[in-house]
């Protein structure tokens, strides 16, 4: 496939030039021309008012995609604790499996306190359990070896992991070995009706755009999934399933973990489990503003988060940062005070049930995603809220 401009249709208006993220379109003799810089990202296709830009199939023959059946999720554990994202993956995997009329399996390397049965209760029909001391601590090579072998043996159609430090580190090795596609950090997954292919939606360009990615010709289709965006399935106490013990293969590793230091701060845990989050941005103006926000959070039994601008100013530590380079949160209520609503911030909090925005500037983009917006000065609005809530609580 390549991108081509039909010269007769091109009016030379140049809108496509501005749309190209790779500077790959130039004006040549008053007509647009695609240069060798083209990365085939398709961004220009829909901008042309004359419909002069199109994809051209060049008859490249692709290899057969091979078969595959069943949806698999990698159940991540660290120090015997099941990662929260694993439950979300089981939820997402269950929905995909039901759509495909297929089974859902989990792969557990090492073990967890409550054992493989827990994964069955959360939705798995089958668990491949490699309960071996070599799997207790994460090392890329043995994890990649065991998972690749299992995939080669059982040939699943879809394999998912959490987009965590662990998932994003060893899944690429598996995909590289199997010469199949891997889509990073997906925020939505679905099945394409007409083809049965996995539609993988993910943010790119720093969250400024979303892209749908397909892996049409290779199997399995692999993806890592961003934590806290998918919903876990209902826990079923009495659900039955099968546990298949797996012998570890090639467990030698060139890397060795000599020490594990847990640094989970109270705040980190609080933010991800919080029902209510009060967040401040550059508009909070300084530590004084954040003091006010902590006060509001306290009256609501909530936690405090911040935009990167506030963190960069040094008003509040990094562990409070929400967004693309911070944490992803999904509370019932997110109260954004003095935050403009840059995409990099929004991607970290948009799955909140209710978003309340307080901002002086009526044009601030945060209002376009807010459930409730108040145009006003947070130094006026927040004290009023605190007073009102205290009244109601009889404090």
């Amino acid at each position: 496939m390549y991108i081509s401009v039909t010269r007769d249709k091109c009016s030379g208006c140049g809108v496509c030039i501005a749309s190209c993220p790779y500077d790959a379109i130039v004006m040549h003799e008053d007509r647009a021309r695609i240069t060798e810089l083209c990365q085939l990202c398709r961004a220009c296709l829909s901008v042309c008012p004359e419909g002069a830009i199109s994809e051209v199939e060049d008859g490249v023959v692709r290899k057969e995609k091979g078969q595959g059946r069943g949806v698999w999720v990698f159940a991540e554990q660290r120090s015997g604790r099941l990662a929260g994202v694993s439950l979300e993956l089981l939820g997402a995997g269950r929905r995909l499996a039901d759509k495909l009329g297929a089974e859902l399996s989990a792969v557990l390397l090492g073990n967890v306190e409550r054992g493989a049965q827990e994964l069955i209760c959360w939705g798995a029909d089958r668990v491949y359990l490699c309960d071996d001391p070599a799997m207790d601590t994460f090392n890329d090579e043995p994890y990649a070896n065991v998972l690749s072998e299992l995939i080669a043996q059982y040939k699943p159609e879809i394999v998912l992991a959490g987009a965590t430090a662990i998932g994003r580190s060893f899944f690429p090795r598996v995909a590289a070995r199997l010469h199949t596609g891997l889509t990073a950090d997906c925020t939505s997954l679905d099945i394409e009706e007409s083809t049965g292919n996995l539609l993988q939606v993910r943010p790119a360009f720093g969250g400024n755009i979303m892209a749908t990615i397909l892996c049409p010709h290779s199997r399995p289709q692999m993806a890592t999934v961003r934590p806290r965006v998918m919903k876990a399935a209902e826990y079923q106490d009495d659900k039955k399933g099968e546990v298949i013990p797996v012998k570890p293969v090639k467990i030698t590793s060139s890397t060795r973990v000599t020490e594990t230091v847990m640094e989970v701060s109270e705040v980190a845990v609080n933010l991800q489990d919080a029902n209510i989050i009060v967040a401040g941005g550059r508009g909070a103006g300084g530590e004084k503003g954040f003091k006010l926000l902590f006060e509001l959070a306290e009256t609501l039994d909530g936690s405090v988060a911040a935009s990167r601008a506030a963190v960069d100013e040094g008003w509040i530590p990094y562990r409070h940062q929400v967004g693309q380079t911070g944490k992803t949160v999904g509370p019932k209520v997110y109260i954004a005070c003095g935050i403009s609503g840059a995409v990099q911030h929004i991607v970290g909090m948009q799955s909140s049930d209710i978003i309340i925005a307080i901002n002086r500037n009526p044009e601030a983009p945060i209002f376009s995603i807010a459930t409730y917006g108040i145009v006003g000065d947070m130094f006026e609005v927040v004290p009023m809220m605190i007073k009102k809530i205290r009244e109601i609580k009889g404090l």
């Binding site: 890329d140 376009s368 917006g373 006003g376």
Partner: protein, 260 residues
């Protein structure tokens, strides 16, 4: 010690936007920069060279213009810069990119390969670990500190979701680095002069003896189906009464949601 650093030239994504009406990228005048994480990888390489001796090469796969990014790394003090460029590389996803870089590094030889954590245009963080897999060598992702480098052994701290691990590995090894690892140096005047004169080695698919079906679009299992703007939430209300009324209404909603 031979060190190869993979650097990518990317559009400065902080300035890329999407026009929600037409679903297309607005990119007027967005400059190309070196992927910021890769600058940290270059700095890490230079520090290893200062401590243990050796030679640092920066490597990029990209169009001829990517040469500018490579010159910038020469001005920081790297010994050599290599550009993999060929029409056949166009349309590469992470698999094909990693394969191509692997062939390039195989050609050059390396004891330590450094990559950024991720490239800010794609944000995938996959190319590094995939290169390591093609070599069959170990990798350590999200390195935030290099503790010790020996002739056949390295010790690093790897950032995890709940803290960090101290990890040791044999060499050769591939590391991907996060921002916390260091502060990249600025080019020196001498470096800038050197960058102007530096010869950049250019290699094509044929030079690499790469298999054509593993390159570019052909070698890429994934395809971009479409792009669109991040969606806005429905049911929005801007409260437009007096400030007292607005706050009262808001607090009422919180009461109704059983948040108070």
């Amino acid at each position: 010690m031979k060190i190869v650093v993979c650097v990518k030239q990317v559009p400065d994504t902080a300035e890329v936007r999407i026009n929600p009406e037409t679903n297309t990228l607005v990119r007027d005048g967005v400059p190309s920069i070196i992927n910021p994480y890769d600058l940290h990888a270059v700095e890490a390489a230079l520090q290893i060279r200062e401590a243990a001796g050796g030679e640092v090469t920066t490597l990029t796969m990209g169009p001829p213009q990517a040469e500018n990014a490579l010159r910038e790394t020469v001005s920081m003090g790297v010994d050599r810069a290599v550009l993999l460029t060929d029409r056949l590389f166009a349309g590469s996803d992470t698999w094909a990119t990693a394969y191509t870089l692997y062939k390039g590094i195989e050609h050059l030889g390396a004891d330590i390969i450094l990559c950024g954590k991720q490239a800010i245009d794609g944000d995938t963080a996959q190319v590094g670990p995939e290169i390591a897999e093609f070599f069959g060598m170990p990798h350590i992702a999200y390195v935030r500190k290099i503790v010790e480098v020996g002739n056949d052994r390295i010790v690093v701290q790897r950032l995890m979701d709940d803290g960090f691990d101290v990890v040791e590995s044999s060499l050769p090894v591939l590391l991907t680095v996060v921002r916390e690892i260091n502060v990249p140096r600025l080019p020196s005047l001498k470096g800038k002069m050197a960058a102007k004169k530096a010869g950049i080695l250019k290699l094509s698919a044929a030079d690499l003896k790469a298999e054509e079906e593993n390159l570019g679009l052909k070698g890429s299992p994934t395809q971009v189906k479409n792009i669109f703007a991040p969606e806005a939430k429905a049911n929005r209300k801007v409260l437009s009464g007096s400030m007292e009324d607005n706050v009262a209404q808001l607090v009422n909603e919180l009461v109704e949601m059983k948040c108070i």
